[in-house]
């Protein structure tokens, strides 16, 4: 007979996440899983399968495609959707596309606002989703460390960080009025290391961008950018060079910095994690400056 002591930290995290996912299925009219193709989304997809087995997860997944994702991410996304049988919805801000908004022409801030934040709000309104599950974790960033697992949004998708609903025990207040919604974060209490340990333990498939390989790289303003297609204009003197790199986090390729690494297997990635002295979001261009920018973006409806 197993004992409680046998439940490890990872077992607890897994059980908590499954509990949260089932709570969403039981309490909301039209939930959706926000799928961003990265490692956290891969873990969520795995947990979804477990939470609702032997049935299929009772909700679709939604990908906000900015048009600037790594090509491998899109291929991986489509394959995983087909394999899991979960309905995949893809939304792109058509207005942004028409205006030619992109990270290179408009900069990280405008691109993120138009193609991610506004696109997400459009998609949620379009489908009338009342709960959106995301893979954000509290260890990622200081304002996220403050956020509830069930995070209330008003009809304008705004987060009010100073007036959050108290969230006691495992009792989640899922009551909302029409038009209001919640963002749900089943991985709130996971750290980046927990995510990797779980991926390793469960044998979860992730895009190979997380593993080191020779890739065409330019170094720009201290960030290693992988030239994923011909849309990245090279500055004078820049020439892509093959370097052994991998990613700790995945986003729009011109905004996501790679790290030099020799970790070509998941085990080696975790070993690297244990030795690392920088946080994963360091590679994200949009997070830098001003200090409370994530809080602001979140208030406006960013994930």
């Amino acid at each position: 007979m197993p004992s409680v002591a046998a439940l490890s930290h990872l077992d607890h995290l897994e059980a908590e996440a499954i509990h949260v996912l089932r709570e969403v299925a039981a309490c909301f009219r039209k939930p959706v899983l926000l799928y961003s193709v990265g490692k956290d989304s891969s873990v969520l997809l795995h947990l979804m399968a477990r939470a609702f087995a032997p049935g299929r997860p009772p909700m679709p997944m939604l990908h906000i495609d900015t048009g600037w994702k790594f090509r491998e991410m899109i291929a991986f996304r489509d394959r995983r959707a087909a394999e899991t049988g979960i309905t995949l919805l893809v939304h792109t801000n058509a207005d942004g596309v028409a205006r030619g908004v992109g990270p290179i022409s408009h900069g990280a801030a405008v691109h993120t606002d138009v193609m991610k934040t506004q696109a997400l709000r459009q998609a949620l309104d379009l489908h009338g989703f009342d709960a959106a599950i995301g893979g954000a974790r509290r260890d990622e960033e200081a304002s996220r460390a403050k956020e509830r697992i069930f995070s209330f949004r008003n009809a304008q998708h705004r987060w009010d960080p100073k007036n959050q609903r108290p969230e006691l025990w495992r009792l989640f207040n899922t009551r909302i009025h029409p038009g209001e919604s919640v963002r749900v974060f089943p991985l709130s209490n996971w750290t980046e290391l927990d995510v990797w340990l779980y991926i390793l333990r469960e044998g979860i498939e992730v895009p190979s961008l997380y593993l080191a390989r020779e890739r065409p790289v330019v170094e720009r303003d201290g960030t290693l950018l992988v030239v994923d297609d011909e849309r990245l204009p090279l500055r004078p003197g820049e020439a892509p060079a093959l370097r052994r790199v991998r990613f700790r986090t995945l986003g729009c390729y011109p905004l996501t910095g790679a790290v030099e690494s020799d970790a070509t297997t998941l085990e080696e990635v975790v070993a690297e994690m244990l030795a690392t002295t920088t946080s994963e979001r360091q590679g994200r261009v949009i997070d830098h400056d001003p200090a409370s920018s994530m809080e602001k973006k979140k208030q406006e409806g960013y994930f």
């Binding site: 007979m1 004992s3 108290p166 495992r170 340990l197 070993a271 409370s292």
Partner: protein
């Protein structure tokens, strides 16, 4: 690193246990510094976050050129600007032996609810005290909340020992003071540690300055502390969260095991209905298993097709919990709107939701002194001992036995805010032991389920007096307050049920009789019924009144003079009646008998309909109180 060694190292990481704890203390006790140092000294503070912290320290910090660790945990812009902690911040660190989740709690009284959020899931509390100041009012308040939420282990961090010359007698005096407080509050396990968080003394390494202290460092104490996990040696408690029905062949009940173990063949009882059956299969996250324990998320299949759904509790048949609908409980009020006894809220406990009202505030507790004070209402952050009445019986455990089945929240039915956290002490009246099978469903039970008492609001008056207008407004207001209502309107009923009746005196009597009977059936169903009928004759109105228990029938005379009603003539009926096209029209060629003792008289010529509707609602609420 060799593959084998790496695999072994990863396996150890994977198998780490965990501890959740909170840190609390007064402003300037050095709480944030302590957490910052813990993260820093366990190498869990990444370089780029440290660099950002140094940058922010120069911009917002209060430590001059030194790093202001408070900025690490105060992640909201408003917190940085005001230099206070508003909400709980969760931070994560680990040693080779254990993973830690820290909830850094606000100290200010106005954010007590956020401290409760952090404390509700904690195994242990680190209470900080400034060695120069000793115990403060906030220390007492925080310890009270810690105790109320069932935390039984406290690490008393006596900080800033450097500022009292590392004196042992000072440390021991504070330790003694705190143990007396903890004894009063029922906190059994207190360990005091002298610290200097700024320098890291006795945090992660022994202090050379305090050789007289033989005990563990804070980190060692955290590594050694037992976790308050769910008990697997207790009888099974499995609240049903979600019914898994992917196909006609499979019907599983999904939930997280709250206590005990569950295995195929176990005899269980489904509460509150009380049906007994056996467990046929248990699915855990990895698939079918021989047994699952407290803390695991499972899906169970029962041997018989018993009715079970979200909110039910699967419990060990040999040792089920009590089922009750009235409780003594402690309440922490968390909303700006005060608590008034009698108001109804949604109550969530386990996976079940009921409607509840506080029937009595037994006393408020002054958290600074522990004194019990009389109170008629409860303000934000108020704590009280209350009596609670529910619309349905539910299975529970006292909070001290099982927080998962004894802790509840109250949710406002209008704005949907979480307004209170509650902890059940004991049942006031047992709803019956678990051997009963079914409730006798009578009119009182139906009404209780709706959280209301049935009433008939009988609007009588001339055609065009304003009955339907006011009845409609009243219904809207009642509906908004969460009452279950129904309008029986004269015109509408005559289109259906009373289609065969005309306007002769006999037909009018029959018309009223039938409507009274329908209203009676509806009050039996627990509804508040609004009857909007001319009902011109006293005798029939009296007959209608006699169909209902005393106090349930409220006669409302909607009054307008014939001239006014005729001038309004919104349906053009008076004109037709005057033209002789409608015989026996009330007021024209058939009498209207004014009520002699109506509960309410509404003068529609001098007051707007909206105000009159409010009067009706107020009157009704007064009869319900």
């Amino acid at each position: 690193m060799a593959a084998g060694a790496l695999a072994e190292r990863l396996r150890r990481h994977e198998a780490r246990t965990r501890l959740r704890f909170i840190t609390c203390g007064s402003v300037d006790d050095g709480k944030s510094t302590l957490i910052g140092r813990l993260l820093h000294d366990t190498n869990l503070l990444p370089d780029d976050q440290l660099a950002a912290l140094e940058r922010d320290s120069r911009r917002h910090g209060t430590q001059g050129e030194r790093i202001d660790f408070a900025l690490l945990v105060d992640g909201l812009a408003a917190e940085r600007e005001q230099g206070i902690t508003i909400d709980v911040a969760y931070r994560y660190f680990a040693t080779p032996a254990r993973s830690f989740i820290v909830a850094d709690c606000p100290g200010h009284e106005q954010y007590t609810r956020n401290m409760a959020t952090g404390a509700s899931t904690a195994d242990l509390a680190v209470v900080l005290v400034d060695a120069r100041k000793g115990l403060l009012a906030q220390t007492r308040r925080h310890s009270h909340i810690v105790s109320m939420l069932g935390i039984r282990q406290v690490l008393l961090a006596v900080n800033k020992m450097d500022l009292v010359g590392y004196r042992q007698d000072r440390f021991e005096a504070i330790d003694g003071d705190y143990r007396r407080l903890a004894g009063r509050l029922g906190i059994a396990d207190v360990q005091a540690i002298p610290l200097c968080a700024l320098d890291g003394d006795n945090l992660c390494r022994r202090s050379a300055a305090m050789p007289w202290y033989p005990g563990p460092t804070l980190l060692e104490a955290l590594e050694a502390a037992p976790a308050r996990t769910a008990r697997s040696d207790a009888p099974l408690r499995l609240p049903v969260q979600w019914v898994n029905r992917p196909d006609p062949e499979f019907r599983g009940l999904a939930g997280t095991v709250g206590a005990g173990t569950v295995a195929p063949g176990d005899e269980v009882v489904v509460l509150p209905a009380g049906r007994r059956t056996r467990v046929a299969r248990v699915l855990a996250s990895s698939g079918e298993v021989a047994a699952a324990v407290a803390g695991q998320a499972v899906t169970v299949v029962l041997a018989d097709a018993v009715d079970a759904s979200r909110g039910d509790l699967i419990a060990a048949a040999g040792d089920p919990p009590e089922v009750a609908d009235q409780f003594a409980a402690h309440l922490l009020w968390m909303a700006e709107k005060p608590l008034y006894p009698g108001r109804r809220y949604w109550l969530s406990l386990g996976t079940r939701t009921a409607t509840a009202q506080v029937t009595e505030i037994r006393h408020r507790i002054d958290i600074d002194t522990g004194a019990e004070l009389a109170a008629r209402h409860l303000e934000l952050n108020g704590i009280a001992s209350v009596r609670l009445s529910l619309d349905q019986p539910l299975p529970f455990e006292p909070y001290a036995v099982d927080p998962a089945l004894g802790g509840f929240i109250l949710v406002d039915r209008e704005d949907h805010g979480t307004v209170a956290a509650g902890m059940i002490d004991f049942a006031l009246r047992r709803a019956g032991n678990i051997h009963w099978q079914h409730l006798d469903v009578d009119r009182a039970a139906r009404a209780r389920l709706k959280g209301q008492q049935p009433r008939v609001l009988w609007f009588t008056g001339l055609s065009g007096a304003g009955k339907s207008t006011i009845a409609n407004l009243v219904e809207k207001k009642l509906h908004a307050r969460g009452f279950h209502t129904f309008i029986l309107d004269g015109d509408n009923v005559r289109h259906g049920l009373n289609r065969d009746l005309g306007f002769t005196a006999a037909d009018r009597v029959e018309n009223v009789r039938r409507v009274a009977e329908v209203a009676r059936l509806m009050t039996d169903a627990g509804l508040i019924v609004l009857v909007s009928f001319i009902s011109p004759f006293r005798a029939e109105r009296r007959l209608a009144r006699e169909r209902f228990p005393d106090g349930e029938f409220i006669e409302i005379h909607v009054k307008a003079s014939l001239a006014t009603a005729e001038r309004r003539d919104s349906k053009g009926l008076y004109a037709k009646a005057r033209a002789g096209l409608i015989p026996n029209f009330t007021g024209i060629d058939s009498p209207y008998e004014d009520p002699e003792a109506a509960e309410l008289v509404l003068d529609t010529e001098n007051e707007p309909a909206e105000a009159l509707a409010t009067r009706v609602v107020d009157h009704l609420l007064a009869t319900l109180a």
